[in-house]
């Protein structure tokens, strides 16, 4: 399929770059032009530095000209979620608290991407401090879904997913604490991978919930996700939770491994509350695997219904601790109204944080506070053990699990903003993966009647990303969902004609 460079896969682009049919400068300029054309409507970016991106692209072209290409990512513009440090670039977490913060050093993933020659491109919007499922909680304005601008792109990595879907980057990095890569990938019709906890270094990632956070790639295809994962994975002495494990060539593993696999269908993930259109698309994917000779087994994850409760206790407890560092003293927002040092903490935090962050700090502080710690936090950690055990039990019989990503389609902006619990409940199918520390991938598996993307979730065994990517790749190769792109002219015209566009556009 002939398409604009910004909509081609990394695998296709790398070939053209190697054959000198395309330069990184041309590709990067093309992505910049596209971003300037569509981002006023989508608002995926908090900021971007055109000159810096073009300088990186020129360096890439010079390497190739000298026969020193660093590999398939050399010269490819990859967008970065604005919680991942890139030296000299803003690092805001979409918060007033860090509005003027500039990264003094590179995160390990940024260093590795640069080492692979990638062009680190722009700062992608998110729910403030990665807390949310819609990217509406950004202090700098909500990101919109490229398939329908009245709807949310998911979150918290909504900027990463939307930018990729709209052709504003060739891949992107996000972070996933309870679904923040997989759910926006599903909402925007792209591939999103949350690796096993410990596979990718968190050094230079702004911490939200340290026992759950993990960085991962967004890409148009499973193969592209494999390429980016290969570049960023691996042990890092700067992250003490980083795991020592051999990193295979994920792309060749995806091509090599052909199954058939034993796939588990957790019955708890297909119950009440699942949108019938999403259920039907996932059922069709199950049929596909069965027809390919895979053994499909129903499995049970009996503690699924306690996942959201355990998650929102553990995640908020860890966030209240991690965000204690934002005190207005060493960096970040400092109140000008403070009477003394302690008052400075209270006011700086009140002025710097948005509503959802405050809500979670309060909840997290409460569940850790004297007299409540055992009843909430310790109990939640024990329930977490049971949830993790459910998955490990299931893996005695199957290679991977197959589920929906989100029980609901991308919803309209504002629809759930006033009811935090309703928003939390939408994370039901993604949260278990984080609590158990497993790898999970979202792969496009269809569209609703109204044209909104649907995502399929495959959940793998710990550190078995190669197998997981291969299983996902087998589905992707046999379907054309991953080649579909939103018609941005149509989306923008529809938005301009709508009442929402007239009021807020």
């Amino acid at each position: 399929m002939e398409s604009e460079p910004y909509y081609q896969t990394i695998a296709e682009l790398a070939e053209q770059l190697d054959e000198r049919k395309l330069s990184s400068v041309d590709l990067t300029q093309c992505v910049i032009r596209r971003t300037k054309a569509v981002d006023p409507a989508i608002r995926a970016f908090n900021s971007f530095d055109e000159a810096d991106a073009l300088a990186q692209a020129r360096a890439s072209d010079e390497r190739r000209a000298a026969g020193k290409s660093l590999g398939p990512l050399d010269g490819i513009p990859i967008g970065i979620k604005d919680v991942i440090a890139v030296e000299g670039q803003p690092l805001t977490a979409s918060s007033r608290m860090l509005e003027n913060f500039v990264s003094p050093y590179d995160s390990t993933v940024a260093r590795k991407l640069k080492g692979a020659g990638a062009v680190c491109w722009g700062r992608l919007n998110l729910d403030e401090f990665a807390m949310g499922s819609s990217t509406e909680n950004s202090a700098f304005g909500a990101t919109r879904n490229p398939w329908d601008l009245e709807r949310v792109p998911g979150g918290s990595s909504g900027g990463s997913a939307a930018a990729l879907a709209a052709g504003e980057a060739c891949a992107a990095l996000g972070s996933d604490t309870g679904g923040s890569i997989r759910q926006p990938a599903a909402f925007c019709g792209v591939v999103g991978l949350k690796p096993t906890y410990g596979l990718v270094s968190r050094y230079g990632l702004i911490a939200f919930a340290s026992s759950l956070d993990q960085i991962g790639p967004f890409a148009h295809t499973v193969e592209d996700a494999a390429l980016v994962l290969g570049a960023i994975a691996g042990h890092d002495p700067l992250d003490s939770t980083s795991f020592r494990v051999e990193i295979p060539d994920y792309r060749s593993e995806v091509r090599k491994r052909r199954g058939p696999w034993k796939l588990g269908i957790p019955k708890e993930y297909f119950g009440e509350g699942l949108d019938p259109e999403i259920g039907a698309a996932v059922e069709a994917a199950i049929r596909f695997y069965r027809e390919q000779g895979c053994e499909i087994r129903e499995v049970t994850l009996p503690h699924t219904r306690y996942g959201i409760g355990a998650y929102y206790i553990i995640a908020t407890a860890e966030c209240s601790s991690n965000l204690a560092r934002y005190d207005g003293i060493r960096y970040g927002h400092r109140s000008k109204e403070a009477a003394d040092a302690v008052d400075l903490y209270f006011r700086s935090r009140a002025e710097g944080f948005g509503a959802e962050v405050k809500r979670r700090i309060i909840l997290g502080t409460y569940v850790l506070s004297s007299g409540y710690h055992d009843a909430y936090y310790l109990r939640a950690q024990k329930v977490r053990t049971l949830i993790r055990q459910d998955f490990l039990n299931a893996y005695r019989d199957v290679d991977a699990l197959l589920t929906p990503i989100s029980p609901i389609a991308p919803f309209k902006a504002g629809e759930k903003a006033a009811d935090p619990l309703a928003m939390y409940l939408c994370d039901v199918y993604t949260i278990g993966v984080n609590l158990a520390g497993l790898p999970g991938i979202s792969v496009p598996c269809g569209f609703s009647k109204s044209g909104l993307p649907i995502g399929l979730q495959l959940i793998g065994q710990p550190y078995q990303e190669a197998e997981l990517l291969a299983i996902a790749g087998a589905y992707e190769r046999a379907h054309d969902w991953s080649t579909r792109r939103p018609d941005m002219d149509k989306s923008i015209a529809a938005w301009n004609a709508s009442s929402a566009g007239r009021t807020f556009g």
């Binding site: 410990g198 409760g309 400092r334 809500r359 309060i362 009843a375 310790l378 939390y424 710990p462």
Partner: protein, 102 residues
């Protein structure tokens, strides 16, 4: 030991006390709204009490990694001026803060 009996009625979340522990100044409107919304969340998480956790060890990290040591060798660190670049107020290579001792 698990002290389930210490759980109080979730509706009694003392928002003034918790906000003070969190060093977070909240407006009266925020206090009212957060109390109500977090009351819903706490009522929801009450269902965790149904789970039999007798003899279950807590999970702090999904894949326990213990005793990770770094070699005790000096490494280059951020230069002072780079480390201070994001400080809200600085003077003579130090961060300026409000007076804490009279």
């Amino acid at each position: 030991m698990d002290k389930g009996k210490q759980t109080s009625d979730p509706a009694t979340l003392d928002i003034d006390h918790i906000a003070k522990l969190a060093r977070l100044a909240l407006t009266a409107e925020e206090k009212a709204r957060f109390s109500e919304q977090l009351g819903d969340v706490l009522a929801y998480v009450e269902q965790l009490k149904e789970v039999d956790i007798t003899g279950v060890e807590p999970t702090a990290h999904a894949f326990p990694v213990y005793n990770v040591w770094a070699d005790d060798v000096p490494r280059p660190a951020l230069p002072v001026e780079v480390a201070l670049r994001n400080a809200p107020s600085q003077r003579d290579n130090m961060i300026v803060v409000p007076k804490v001792v009279e």
